[in-house]
């Protein structure tokens, strides 16, 4: 919104009895609270009828009938046909179990998304009992008088009673992209946005009776589209399944050609498919993202799309606003220059008591008059709430109200005694506003928009320069007599030949956490630029205070930015840059230019015109408190507290979520090798070497023992120095992850698995050269192989918690969920081995002591291989030593910190 002027004088317009509202019943004072409550009780809340949800049973059915499930149905049916009913039944059971699991995850993710939406109730300014106040949009009732200003979303069908330069974006309803300019008496429909201007209007229809509701009812109920991340994982999984089936079919054909019975060939084909397809992956990813979103919400960052959690983690550039984001947005008038003298005001917050020093003292009457005019042009108020004075409305407007009270003027009394006759509202192009009252035109606005229209005042330009260079935000106040007739001219004609009353210097102190957050960004390798509509000197002063601008850091203005997009990219791609006097179009160009240079840009914005820039940026960040509805709808992330530090916290959580997804991907993929190896050995040996683990055991590993540890890895808490690494530009699945899972940990698990399998035979007297035993010996050997894989995965779960730290240095108790999951995994293992029906189903038996002893080796083997791998990785910093973002640090963080490379400094 306007950085230099009032955003809305709507409340003042109403107090002054805006022409046009007078003839309407209750328009002057609005409804009474009692009347509104009565109407709310009879008409019901102003909510759109909930579109018919896809019923739960259909969503559950979809989980049973998606691509993977269909594959498994076919495999299960074939198993029946091939005379293996246990396998068929087990495969069907797996489909149903997996379906239930995925359905529950979806439900949880959906509920999480709904709860997040509820965190941000839409507020509407209405007139109740004669005063303007904010109510929730769902509490609007027919007959309510609503005050509209630029950026508002219209929440009910309204009849316009008074308009000031109103333009509406009706594209939601009509698809028309050019703003409409409705007149008094026209209806503004729910769902439209106010582009500019202001209005007062009466509610004529709410909830299901609005035109928007009619349209909404026409559209069929639909399931929300899957997120890009989910679509991509879906695609990867499908291709994996496709290739796996291809391999299965090829091997089946080969097996038939070399004389293998068709049933064995089929068993092999199913085994390969099941072993390679990561069944539990999709729901785990969704849940991990939903978890990340919920954690961000507790830190006041509201994610509007789940995949933004992951994108946030890779942010490389933050373009931040100044007011309210880096500063407290708590304005106070600290100094005043007048042609007659100057004044210094020392007060606390918005309290009406302050020390006012006026030099010379005879200038105090001029000071009072100037403060009165400034307050008349202001729409904000300072009110006492729970013993604390707070701003209502724009903080800068409230500061002017406070100024008047501090110098002894009662703004409320003034409004009643000298009623307003005409108002020219603030707009971003004029950057000033004016009010006609008591035969005078009172003007307030940005100095460069007001001073040229004033009769030259000696010393004003110098004073302005001094105040601005000290970092103050400066407003000019002026007036001229207009007689008692109504001003008929346009604003441009009326605001001429003014007498300057004074310059008001306001200060907005920086937020406490801002400097720390900017330093954190620097450590995290994220570049930060301040992009503000404010004066260059004000921007410079704040940038210095928060440590953004260091040394001779440069401040450029929007008009100095190069026209050419490539040059623009080169010019703005610097850390600590301050760009002042920026128009919303410049923001869009900056976002585009940085994106073309390969940056993942987070851009903040709060105004109507910021929406395109917010959409263009990889992460559009809107302000939850001060932002407009338009900006919020265009954004990916809404800051509930408007604080810059919250963006940094969200980036931290994003990085941590990205790392967690990689953790459980590694975990999930590792045992694929151990699952597949027995089948390959079995085929390569022309079925002479018995099958160490069967299809059902593979399913028990994938869907049973692996799931809980994978989920727990997805919930790994952020490490203490997540933000001390450069941004990751890595893919979720890359060579490094493959090398670890398929090149090292998987083969180690497979080796111990087959060794345990053979150990049982050897302990029973089998020697090389003899044929392999069958019957109970084979069952016990298979149990040993299964045990080895599960124990290997237990060690692997700890190994996956870090990419650089050995297992014993990751901190045992940081992820308690994982400890619980591992206990559950071991309990499941015991169940699969020692509960006879389960063991029979899986075709295994408890291993002999020899098999168990070798299987136990899986733990040290995985830990040892992992430790050697991590040590080697640390010796090769260019390739592997960069720590995962979101790494758990344990106790050895400083001793083991890897050498880091910064992509931008190579």
């Amino acid at each position: 919104m306007g950085a230099d002027g009032p955003s809305s004088p709507a409340a003042a317009a109403l107090r002054a009895g805006t022409p046009g509202t007078a003839g309407l019943p209750g328009a002057d004072t609005g409804l009474t609270t009692a009347e509104a409550a009565a109407r709310l009780a009879t008409d019901g809340p102003n909510l759109l009828p909930v579109p018919r949800q896809v019923p739960a049973w259909r969503r559950f059915a979809a989980e049973l009938l998606h691509f993977f499930a269909l594959l498994f149905w076919v495999a299960g049916t074939l198993a029946f046909v091939a005379g293996m009913p246990e396998l068929g039944l087990a495969v069907f059971a797996v489909i149903v179990l997996n379906g239930i699991f995925a359905f529950m995850q979806e439900q949880r993710a959906m509920h999480a998304a709904e709860r997040l939406r509820d965190l941000l109730p839409r507020q509407v300014t209405v007139v109740r009992d004669g005063t303007a106040c904010h109510v929730r949009a769902d509490e609007l009732v027919t007959g309510d008088v609503v005050l509209l200003e630029g950026g508002d979303r219209i929440s009910a069908d309204l009849r316009l009673d008074a308009v000031h330069g109103l333009a509406l974006d009706t594209s939601t309803l009509t698809g028309e992209s050019v703003p409409a300019h409705p007149m008094v008496g026209d209806v503004a429909y729910a769902g439209c946005f106010v582009v500019e201007g202001e209005a007062s209007a009466t509610v004529v229809a709410t909830g299901a009776r609005t035109r928007l509701a009619g349209i909404a009812m026409l559209t069929a109920a639909h399931r929300p589209a899957p997120t890009p991340l989910r679509r991509e994982l879906d695609r990867v999984s499908r291709v994996i399944a496709g290739v796996a089936i291809g391999i299965g079919v090829v091997f089946f054909g080969v097996a038939l050609l070399v004389g293998t019975p068709p049933s064995d060939g089929f068993l092999f084909a199913v085994g390969v498919t099941v072993a390679v397809v990561p069944c539990g992956l999709l729901p785990t990813v969704t849940l991990s993202l939903a978890n990340g979103a919920q954690r961000m919400a507790t830190r006041h960052a509201l994610v509007r799309h789940l995949e933004a959690v992951e994108t946030l983690g890779s942010t490389t550039f933050i373009c931040t606003d100044k007011t309210g984001t880096l500063t407290q947005n708590q304005m106070a008038v600290v100094e005043i220059w007048m042609p007659q003298g100057r004044a210094v005001i020392e007060g606390t917050g918005y309290e009406p008591l302050a020390v006012v020093r006026c030099e010379p003292s005879r200038a105090s009457s001029a000071l009072s008059e100037m403060a009165r005019v400034a307050a008349r042009c202001s729409s904000g108020r300072a009110i006492e709430e729970n013993g604390r004075w707070v701003a209502r409305g724009d903080p800068m407007e409230a500061a002017l109200d406070v100024l008047a009270r501090r110098v002894g003027v009662d703004p409320d009394l003034d409004v009643t005694t000298v009623p307003e006759t005409r108002r020219f509202p603030f707009d971003a192009r004029r950057r000033r506003m004016s009010v006609a009252a008591g035969g005078w035109l009172l003007v307030k606005g940005a100095p460069d928009a007001v001073l040229p229209r004033c009769i030259p005042a000696p010393g004003a330009d110098e004073a302005l320069h001094v105040l601005a260079s000290r970092g103050f935000r400066v407003l000019a106040v002026a007036c001229r007599p207009i007689g008692h007739e109504l001003v008929a001219q346009s604003a441009d004609d009326a605001e001429r030949g003014l007498t300057l009353l004074g310059l008001i210097a306001l200060e907005d102190p920086p937020r406490q956490g801002a400097a720390g957050a900017i330093a954190a960004c620097r450590r995290a390798g994220i570049r930060v630029a301040m992009v503000t509509g404010d004066h260059p000197e004000t921007a410079r002063a704040i940038a210095r205070e928060v440590g953004l601008l260091v040394g001779d850091g440069s401040v450029v203005t929007g008009s100095e930015l190069p026209e050419d997009d490539e040059e623009l990219g080169a010019a703005v791609d610097r850390d600590g840059l301050v760009i002042a006097r920026v128009a919303p179009e410049d923001k869009l160009r900056i976002a585009q230019a940085l994106r073309h240079r390969g940056h993942v840009v987070a851009m903040t914005g709060d105004g109507v015109n910021d929406a395109p820039a917010l959409r263009e940026a990889a992460i559009g960040v809107a302000m939850g408190r001060s932002g407009t509805d338009v900006a919020r709808e265009a954004a990916d992330l809404v800051l509930l507290d408007d604080d810059f530090a919250t963006i940094v916290a969200a980036v931290e959580q994003g990085r941590s979520t990205f790392a967690n997804i990689r953790r459980f991907l590694t975990y999930h993929l590792t045992d694929n090798v151990a699952e597949l190896a027995p089948f390959v050995v079995w085929v390569l040996s022309a079925r002479n070497f018995p099958l160490a683990i069967g299809v059902l055991q593979v399913l028990a590993l994938d869907i049973g023992t692996d799931i809980l540890p994978a989920l727990a890895l997805g919930a790994e808490p952020p490490g203490t120095h997540v933000l001390e690494q450069p941004p990751t530009r890595r893919h979720l699945l890359d060579r490094r992850l493959f090398a670890r899972a398929f090149g090292l940990l998987g083969p180690v698990e497979a080796t111990v698995e087959l060794a345990a399998f053979l150990a049982v035979f050897v302990a029973m007297g089998w020697r090389p050269g003899q044929s392999f035993p069958h019957g109970s010996a084979l069952l016990a050997a298979s149990g040993a192989a299964f045990t080895a894989v599960v124990l290997g995965q237990v060690a692997n779960a700890f190994a996956c918690r870090s990419t650089i730290r050995p297992v014993w240095k990751v901190g045992w108790t940081r992820n308690r969920l994982l400890l619980g999951a591992l206990v559950a995994e071991l309990a499941m293992l015991a169940g699969f081995l020692y509960i006879p029906p389960l063991a029979d189903l899986l075709d295994q038996a408890p291993p002999s002591w020899a098999g168990f002893a070798v299987a136990l080796f899986a733990v040290p083997a995985v830990v040892l291989a992992d430790t050697i791998h991590k040590r080697n990785a640390r010796r090769q910093p260019r390739h592997d030593a960069r720590e995962e973002p979101g790494e758990a640090t344990g106790s050895a963080r400083t001793a083991d910190r890897p050498r880091r490379t910064h992509p931008g400094r190579r």
């Binding site: 999984s237 391999i247 994108t311 493959f738 398929f742 083969p747 497979a750 080796t751």
Partner: protein, 46 residues
Amino acid sequence: MGLGEVVMVVLAGILVAAGLCWAVVAIAVRHSDAARRAPRGRRGLT
């Protein structure tokens, strides 16, 4: 099967299994990379 045969077949089986897993997932990722049309910024998996 003799000891040599057992060792050979087990090692070969593990290597082939690891190679197969690697190939399958790498093909899937490459396929996904090619099919991706990211509208803005860096989005998604690969």
